[in-house]
C-alpha cells in the first residue's frame, strides 16, 4: 500500500481567485504559482515523495502570516507550513490543493537576553545560528540535530528535534520557553512565557512535535545554556555489537550521564572512514563515542571513571582525544555518517526508531535477518545514550520496486521497535512517512483522542491535513495490528 494518499477535497480550490486574494496581502514575488517556481518546494528531506503545491506563499511578517491564514480559513484551503525543508518524514510535503506556507523569510534573531539566558527568534532562524549568536555571551542552544547548519528553529519545534546531546540536555521541548503561534483562524496566541511555567494546560509541550497540525509557529523563545568549561571525547572499539551495548548500560549504571554517547556498526565505521578519515578502527564491529562535559574537575573525574568501566567491557581499543582538534576528528566521522553512506549506495533510507537500550542486541539481530531476507544492506548509527536507532537501508531507486521493498523493510523495523517497548519515531516525526506505523503503535481510542486534540485547534482540519495521525479507516485498510509493549506478540516476528 502506498504510504501516503492525499485526501480528495471538493470543491477544488479556485487557484486564480486564491492567487488574487493573496496578492492583496503579499507582494507579487511572494506568491509563487508557476510550475517552475513551485518545483523547489515539491518535497522536503524525504525526497522519495514529491508533488507540487497549488501555490507557495512567502510572508515576511507575522501580520502577513495571519492574513494568509485568514484567507485560507475563509476559503477552506489546506495549509502546509515549511521551514528549511530538511525534515526526514515528509511533514512538509505539499498539498496539491493547498498553500505551502514558507517561513523562510522570517529570519531575525529578535533579542538575546544574556542574564535571563534566553533568545527570542523568528521561526526561520537556523539552529546553528542561534548558538553562533549566543557564543559571545558564553552561551549556546543545546539541541543539535545533524541538519543544524540548515534546519530552522520553527521546524525544530514542530518536530521536537533532538540530536546527539539529548540524554543530558534534552530535546527541543526541554529547551524552549515561549511560542507565538498563529491559529488557522489567523489569531496570534502566546503559549508559554519567559518564566519557567505558565498557568493552564501545557500547550507548550503539546505544540512541540505537533508537526504543523495545530498552528503556525511565528516566534520562539529558547533557553540558552552556558558553554561547558571543557568537553572530552573517548573512543572505544569492540569486536561485537552486544559488548558495545553492554558498555553503554555499564556507564549509565555507574551514575554517569555523558553529554553524548554514540554507537556505529562496522559498515557505518568503514563508510565514514572512507569519507572523512577519522582514524576509526576499520576492523571493529562497533565503536562507541562517549563525550563528557562540565567543569574541568568534573570532566577529569568522569573521563577516568569511564575509561575504567570500558576497560572492563572487553574492548579492543580505547582512545581519549588529546586535544580539541582530535575531539573534532573523532566526531567528524560520526557527523559524516549519513553522507558517507550516501557515497557507497545510490540511495539510502534513514529509519528513526527508539528502543529500550537493553533490547539493542535482539533488535540488531532481527534487522540483520531482515536484511538477508530483503537482500538489502543496513548500516546502523545509534544514539546509544537515549536508545534512538538510525538504521540506514541501502537501496537503488532506479531498480524497479526497490523503494517499495525498502519501505516494507523499514516498516518492519519500526514494528520491531514497538514490539520491544519502543517507538516508531524518536526525533524525525511521523509526517506522511510513518503514518501507517502509527496504527501499530496506537489503538483506535488513542488515535481518536489525537483527532480530538487536532480539532480543538483546527476544527476544519486545514493544517497539514492527512499527516501525523492516521484516520481509523486508513488503519483498517493498512491492516496493521496494534502492537502493545510486547504484550500482544507480533505474529510475524517468529520468521525473522
Amino acid at each position: 500500500m502506498h504510504v501516503y494518499q492525499e485526501e480528495e477535497r471538493t470543491p477544488r480550490i479556485d487557484k486564480v481567485a486564491l492567487v488574487a486574494a493573496l496578492h492583496t496581502i503579499l507582494p507579487a514575488d511572494s506568491v509563487l504559482h508557476d510550475q517552475e517556481d513551485l518545483t523547489p518546494y515539491e518535497c522536503d528531506g524525504l525526497s522519495a515523495y514529491r508533488h507540487l503545491p497549488l501555490l507557495v506563499a512567502l510572508p515576511d511578517s507575522v501580520e502577513q502570516v495571519q492574513q494568509v491564514l485568514r484567507v485560507c480559513y475563509d476559503n477552506d484551503v489546506p495549509v502546509v507550513a515549511r521551514g528549511a525543508g530538511t525534515g526526514l518524514s515528509g511533514g512538509a510535503l505539499p498539498h496539491s490543493q493547498g498553500v505551502l506556507l514558507s517561513l523562510a523569510k522570517l529570519t531575525s534573531i529578535l533579542h538575546i537576553d544574556p542574564l535571563n539566558r534566553t533568545a527570542r527568534l523568528q521561526p526561520g532562524v537556523r539552529n546553528l545560528a542561534i548558538s553562533q549568536a549566543a557564543m559571545p555571551y558564553g552561551l549556546y542552544y543545546a539541541p543539535d540535530p545533524s541538519s543544524q547548519i540548515a534546519c530552522t528553529i520553527g521546524g525544530n519545534v514542530a518536530e521536537n528535534s533532538g540530536g546527539v546531546h539529548c540524554l543530558k540536555y534534552g530535546l527541543t521541548v526541554h529547551n524552549i520557553m515561549q511560542l507565538k503561534i498563529v491559529t488557522i483562524e489567523g489569531e496570534l496566541l502566546v503559549i508559554g512565557s519567559e518564566a519557567l511555567d505558565t498557568p493552564g494546560y501545557d500547550f507548550l509541550a503539546l505544540m512541540t512535535g505537533s508537526e504543523g497540525m495545530l498552528g503556525v509557529i511565528v516566534e520562539i523563545t529558547v533557553r540558552l545554556l552556558p558553554l561547558p568549561e571543557r568537553a572530552q571525547v573517548i573512543l572505544a572499539a569492540f569486536d561485537n555489537v552486544e559488548k558495545a551495548g553492554s558498555a553503554v548500560g555499564a556507564i549509565i549504571a555507574a551514575g554517569i550521564i555523558p553529554a553524548g554517547l554514540e554507537m556505529m556498526d562496522k559498515l557505518a565505521i568503514n563508510a565514514a572512514e572512507d569519507f572523512v578519515h577519522a582514524g576509526y578502527p576499520r576492523d571493529a564491529e562497533a565503536i562507541l563515542l562517549c563525550e563528557l562535559d562540565g567543569t574541568n574537575e568534573e570532566v577529569s573525574e568522569q573521563v577516568s571513571r569511564v575509561c575504567e568501566i570500558l576497560e572492563n567491557c572487553d574492548i579492543t581499543e580505547l582512545r581519549i582525544a588529546r586535544d580539541e582538534q582530535e575531539r573534532a576528528v573523532f566526531w567528524k566521522g560520526r557527523k559524516a555518517a549519513f553522507p558517507a553512506i550516501g557515497r557507497i549506495s545510490p540511495d539510502y533510507y534513514c529509519m528513526d526508531g527508539t528502543i529500550p537500550r537493553k533490547r539493542l542486541p535482539e533488535v540488531l539481530r532481527h534487522i540483520r535477518d531482515l536484511s538477508v531476507e530483503y537482500g538489502l544492506t543496513v548500516a546502523n548509527v545509534f544514539h546509544a545514550g537515549d536508545g534512538n536507532l538510525h538504521p540506514l537501508i541501502l537501496y537503488d531507486a532506479n531498480h524497479p520496486g526497490e523503494l517499495a521493498k525498502t519501505e516494507e523493510f523499514g516498516g518492519k523495523i519500526l514494528q520491531i521497535c514497538v514490539e520491544v517497548g519502543g517507538t516508531i519515531t524518536g526525533e524525525h516525526g511521523v509526517g506522511m512517512e510513518k503514518i501507517n506505523q502509527m496504527c501499530v503503535q496506537f489503538g483506535p481510542a488513542e488515535l481518536t483522542q489525537f483527532h480530538g486534540v487536532k480539532r480543538a485547534f483546527d476544527a476544519k482540519g486545514l493544517l497539514n491535513p492527512g499527516k501525523a495521525v492516521p484516520t481509523l479507516h486508513r488503519c483498517a485498510e493498512f491492516g496493521a495490528m496494534h502492537v502493545h509493549k510486547g504484550r500482544i506478540a507480533f505474529p510475524e516476528l517468529e520468521r525473522f
Binding site: G200, Y201, G249, A253, G294, I355, P356, F442, A445, F450
Partner: protein, 352 residues
C-alpha cells in the same frame, strides 16, 4: 502492589452514565491546592505499585496511587532520584497527585520540571476510555505529547492510572554554601552563576541569606566552592527539604501565600509582605495580604504569573486568568477529553 484499574473504570462508567462529577483524590496531601473540589470522591490511592523500574534505562513506571516515598526509596537504592525533586506536602503524597499538580522542587531550574521528565502515561479520559500515550523511552515523537499536557492539568483532562518518568543518577557529592546579601544582589549572583558551568543544583534567598547547593564530583564541587565562596551549611539536606515542604520559618503562619513565576533576572517585586526567592530567581514566594489583582498585575508586567497557592478564595480565581484566545483553546481541549465535564470540574478554572 494492587491494580484496581478495572474498579476505577467501573466507577468512571457509572459517573458518566449519571453525568455525576468526580473529585479525584490520591493521598489527599494537596487538597489545599487549586479551586474548590466538587463531585463524588474517586479514591485512587489503592491503585499503587511500581510496574517497571530499570535503573540502566533511567526509567520508572508506577501506578498513580503509589506513594512518592516508595518511589524515592526504590530509586535511592540504585543511587538515582526524581530530578525535579517534588514537594510532598504530607506523607501520603502520591505520584499521580504530584504529576497532576505539576509540582517541582528546588532542583527544577537546573535539572528540569515534573513535565520535563514525564515520558508516558496511561489515563482514563472523561469518556471512560483507557488510553496510553508516550512510553518508556526518552526520545519519542509519535503522536501529540498528551502525557506532558496531563502534567499540571489537575486531573481535568484525564485521571492518571500510570506514569512513566525519566530518572537520573544522584550526584556523587553535594554541599551548600550561604552568603549574606540583599535580594537584589542575590538575583544578580544567581543569574550570573547560572551562565557559567558551575554545578548548581538549587538556590534560595531568604532573610538576607543566599543559599546555593552544588552537586557533582567531589573535586568539581570543591573547586566551585572556592570560586563562589561563602559559609558551608551543616545539615543542608534538611534545609532544602524544609524549603521544598514549606517548613522554613518563612512559611509559618502565612495566611495568603502566593507563588510567582517570573523571568529569573526580574528585579525584586515592589509588594508589601515578605518574599522568598528560589529557582535562581524564577520562583518567588510571597506572603502578602495585598489585593490579588495588584499582585497578579505586578507579575504580568514583567512576563510572569501569580498563583494564590494557599489561603485564597477558592471559589474565585486561584490561577492567573487566561487570555481570551487561550481560554477558548482550553475549553475545546477539555471538551475533547471530557465532553460531559465530569473530571475535577472547576478545580483549575471555573467552567473547565
Amino acid at each position: 502492589m494492587t491494580d484496581i484499574a478495572a474498579q476505577l473504570k467501573e466507577q468512571f462508567d457509572a459517573a458518566i452514565a449519571d453525568k455525576r462529577p468526580l473529585n479525584i483524590v490520591g493521598g489527599n496531601s494537596k487538597a489545599f491546592y487549586g479551586r474548590m473540589a466538587v463531585g463524588d470522591t474517586l479514591a485512587v490511592s489503592a491503585h499503587r505499585g511500581i510496574v517497571n523500574y530499570e535503573p540502566t534505562e533511567l526509567v520508572i513506571t508506577a501506578r498513580a496511587g503509589t506513594p512518592l516515598v516508595d518511589i524515592e526509596q526504590a530509586l535511592a537504592e540504585h543511587r538515582q532520584m526524581l530530578p525535579f525533586e517534588p514537594p510532598h506536602f504530607g506523607d501520603t503524597a502520591t505520584l499521580g497527585g504530584t504529576i497532576a499538580c505539576g509540582f517541582s522542587g528546588p532542583r527544577r531550574p537546573y535539572s528540569g520540571s515534573a513535565r520535563d521528565f514525564v515520558l508516558g502515561s496511561k489515563i482514563i479520559n472523561g469518556k471512560g476510555e483507557v488510553l496510553r500515550f508516550g512510553g518508556e523511552v526518552i526520545k519519542n515523537v509519535a503522536g501529540y505529547d498528551v502525557s506532558r499536557m496531563m502534567t499540571g492539568a489537575l486531573g481535568t483532562l484525564g485521571m492518571l492510572l500510570e506514569v512513566s518518568l525519566q530518572v537520573l543518577p544522584r550526584a556523587a557529592f553535594e554541599t551548600t554554601l550561604v552568603q549574606q546579601c540583599s535580594q537584589k544582589e542575590a538575583l544578580q549572583r544567581m543569574n550570573v552563576w547560572a551562565a557559567t558551568s558551575l554545578p548548581l543544583s538549587a538556590t534560595c534567598h531568604v532573610d538576607d541569606g543566599l543559599y546555593v547547593r552544588l552537586s557533582g564530583a567531589e573535586a568539581a564541587v570543591a573547586a566551585s566552592v572556592k570560586k563562589i565562596g561563602g559559609d558551608r551549611v551543616d545539615d543542608d539536606d534538611e534545609f532544602w527539604q524544609d524549603l521544598r515542604e514549606h517548613r522554613l520559618p518563612f512559611f509559618n503562619g502565612v495566611d495568603n501565600l502566593w507563588r510567582m513565576t517570573l523571568p529569573s533576572a526580574a528585579p525584586p517585586l515592589n509588594l508589601s509582605g515578605c518574599q522568598l526567592i528560589e529557582w535562581g530567581g524564577g520562583q518567588r514566594w510571597l506572603a502578602s495580604d495585598d489585593d490579588a489583582q495588584a499582585i497578579r498585575n505586578s507579575a504580568i508586567v514583567i512576563g510572569g504569573h501569580a498563583t494564590h497557592y494557599r489561603g485564597g478564595q477558592r471559589e474565585g480565581d486561584v490561577f492567573q486568568p487566561l487570555s481570551q484566545g487561550l481560554w477558548r483553546l482550553h475549553q475545546n481541549m477539555k471538551h475533547a477529553f471530557d465532553p460531559q465535564g465530569i473530571l475535577n470540574p472547576g478545580r483549575l478554572y471555573p467552567g473547565l
